[in-house]
């Protein structure tokens, strides 16, 4: 089962929920945490994993053979990203714009374009105290997160429980991280910002046809509108974590909630059971 932990708004507690959920399940399940927030991966700060494998993520970019090139301009015509331009007797490439679609190389009539890898980040895997771990990391200055997210998701162990820490927002990196999940947990806070971004996140997971439920973090601040919204839209609120200085202090020191306050473990186990019930009920319904 793949459970993604997303939020729309940043800083609502995705990593807090994802890490504590993983640690709460490790005694009963084979559990893996995959950090797909490749722009700012933070789960490793809490799980402190031993990394056993690391590899570069490259996208295939064009390499033009000047001997073979006739400067016909076909490559530039087919590149929608403007990553290749042909001037008389010269081909210029702008590799940071290249998405690696392969059109230029395939369509070159002279077969003058080979592809070579350009590193945009890394993926790593390892383990931490009974939890399998993987993360992706975008190189600073690179724009394209989705290829790294795709790559790190290849580490997913489909026989166990996979928990995905999703980047904030609602656009392509979020979609790449959340898609193929069995369930998406949306972590929010009870403020107008939290609600505004929760509504966007709910629309995104609906678009992907993935069932979702809500975790309200820092309950006690703000107003009651997130709860009203969830009731109105029949979205289950599966866990509520209060605003608490001790929880904030643990988080600030890179200590997971269940390590610092073990009484929370049973809440996360119950959270997992509720998710399991929703997923099984849904699969049953789809099969019927």
């Amino acid at each position: 089962m793949i459970i993604s932990v997303a939020s729309g708004k940043g800083g609502t507690g995705k990593t807090l929920v994802a890490t504590s959920l993983a640690l709460s399940l490790k005694d009963t399940e084979r559990v893996q945490l995959i950090d797909c927030d490749v722009e700012e991966p933070n789960a490793h700060l809490f799980l402190k994993p031993v990394i056993t494998h690391s590899e570069a993520v490259c996208i295939p970019v064009p390499k033009v053979d000047d001997e073979k090139c006739t400067y016909c301009g076909r490559c530039a015509d087919v590149c929608v990203y403007h990553a290749i331009a042909v001037v008389p007797k010269h081909v210029m490439t702008f590799l940071e714009l290249c998405h690696g679609c392969g059109a230029c190389s395939y369509l070159c009539p002279e077969k003058a374009i080979a592809e070579e890898g350009r590193e945009i980040g890394i993926v790593e895997s390892g383990y931490s105290d009974g939890v399998d771990f993987a993360q992706g990391k975008l190189n600073v200055g690179e724009a394209l997160a989705p290829p790294i997210i795709r790559k790190v998701k290849e580490f997913a162990n489909h026989d166990g429980v996979v928990i995905i820490d999703v980047p904030p927002g609602t656009s392509c990196p979020v979609v790449e991280a959340v898609k193929d999940s069995d369930f998406c947990l949306l972590v929010t806070e009870p403020t107008p910002f939290g609600l505004n971004d929760l509504v966007l996140a709910v629309e995104t997971v609906k678009e992907l046809k993935i069932p979702c439920g809500v975790v309200i973090n820092r309950a006690g601040v703000g107003d009651g509108k997130v709860e009203e919204y969830c009731r109105r839209e029949s979205i289950p609120i599966l866990l509520t974590i209060p605003l608490d200085t001790e929880i904030a202090r643990l988080y600030s020191n890179g200590i997971t909630l269940v390590a610092g306050m073990p009484m929370w473990k049973s809440d996360f186990v119950r959270l997992f059971e509720k998710i399991g019930d929703i997923v099984h009920e849904r699969t049953g319904r789809l099969e019927r």
């Binding site: 939020s7 729309g8 708004k9 940043g10 800083g11 609502t12 927030d37 490749v38 722009e39 700012e40 933070n42 700060l45 295939p60 087919v78 929608v80 990203y81 998405h99 690696g100 679609c101 392969g102 059109a103 395939y106 369509l107 975008l138 600073v140 200055g141 690179e142 724009a143 394209l144 997160a145 980047p167 904030p168 927002g169 609602t170 656009s171 392509c172 990196p173 979020v174 979609v175 898609k179 403020t191 107008p192 910002f193 505004n196 971004d197 966007l200 996140a201 995104t204 678009e207 992907l208 601040v221 703000g222 107003d223 200085t245 904030a248 202090r249 988080y251 600030s252 020191n253 890179g254």
Partner: protein, 286 residues
């Protein structure tokens, strides 16, 4: 005209609350929300929308079932795993157009994609340019570039001193688009291990693009050891830690009331944000 962008790497450190306060403090400016994915600044500034535009960007492949001979070449060549059973998944399609170029019966066409909307609005603090990327859409970087361009145009035509932009979290495409070519970046961090880690990456990004930066430590009193670490780090990097703002529920209360923090509190919090703005305006003037 000078351009300030407020970034953080990590989300939820208080970027939008600080930008909303700057909206109240800065005299002659255009406001710009570069978080087109999950924009929140309008919730505080309560704009009246003056212009509402469609944002057309990129294309999506469409297969004409009547022409398709099910040869499967498109599916084999698509690098984005966007074609299954002779249908295009518009969410996975990157719009590269490769499939439409190679389809033997020419059954694939590229369709223009409306991927969001952008707005020019009036607020009681001045004009606001903001946008709304469509759900699960791409090209947020292009939309950010567009809202920034419009903000600059308005600042120039109305002879205003500043463009103040609320940036998105992260360090990827939309952040690069918010950052490139600005006069100054304010990095808002918090004294947590995640906050520090993310600050380092976003600072590296500022350096990569040659943008000068200064730092504000929000909620500094939730972990004063970490606050000292951030101050030491700033010192070692030659960065100014321009403000330390204590944790206070007035941030959340202001969001609930829909007003900037500086208008909701007259005590230390407002003072520290005011002196932060003074430091920034001095830097921008110098």
């Amino acid at each position: 005209m000078k351009e300030l962008v407020v970034l953080s790497g990590k989300g939820g450190t208080g970027k939008t609350s600080i930008v909303a306060s700057f909206a109240a403090l800065a005299r002659s400016k255009v406001l710009c929300d570069c978080d087109v994915d999950a924009a929140d600044l309008h919730l505080v500034l309560q704009p009246i929308i003056r212009e509402n535009h469609e944002f057309w960007s990129g294309q999506v492949a469409v297969i004409d079932e009547d022409k398709c001979t099910q040869c499967n070449l498109c599916q084999e060549l698509c690098r984005f795993d966007a074609i299954h059973d002779f249908k295009v998944d518009p969410i996975s399609c990157e719009g590269c157009g490769f499939c439409s170029q190679i389809c033997p019966p020419e059954a694939i066409t590229m369709k223009e994609n409306m991927s969001g909307r952008w707005f020019i609005a009036d607020t009681r603090y001045g004009p606001l340019i903001h946008a709304r990327l469509g759900i699960a859409q791409e090209n947020s970087g292009k939309l950010v570039a567009l809202v920034r361009q419009k903000a600059r145009q308005i600042a120039e035509s109305d002879d205003l001193d500043y463009v103040i932009s609320d940036g998105p979290p992260g360090i990827g495409c939309p952040v690069i688009s918010s950052l490139s070519g600005v006069s100054l970046a304010l990095l808002v961090t918090e004294p947590t291990q995640s906050g520090i880690h993310d600050l380092e990456r976003v600072l590296d990004l500022c350096r990569h693009f040659g943008v000068p930066a200064l730092v504000c430590i929000n909620k500094y009193d939730i972990n004063e050891d970490n606050t000292r670490k951030i101050e030491d780090y700033c010192l070692s990097q030659g960065l100014m830690a321009a403000a330390k703002i204590p944790f206070d529920n007035v941030f959340t209360e202001s969001i609930v009331k829909g007003i900037p923090v500086v208008e909701n509190s007259r005590d230390g919090i407002a003072k520290s944000i005011e002196s932060l703005w003074q430091s920034i305006s001095r830097l921008l003037a110098g």
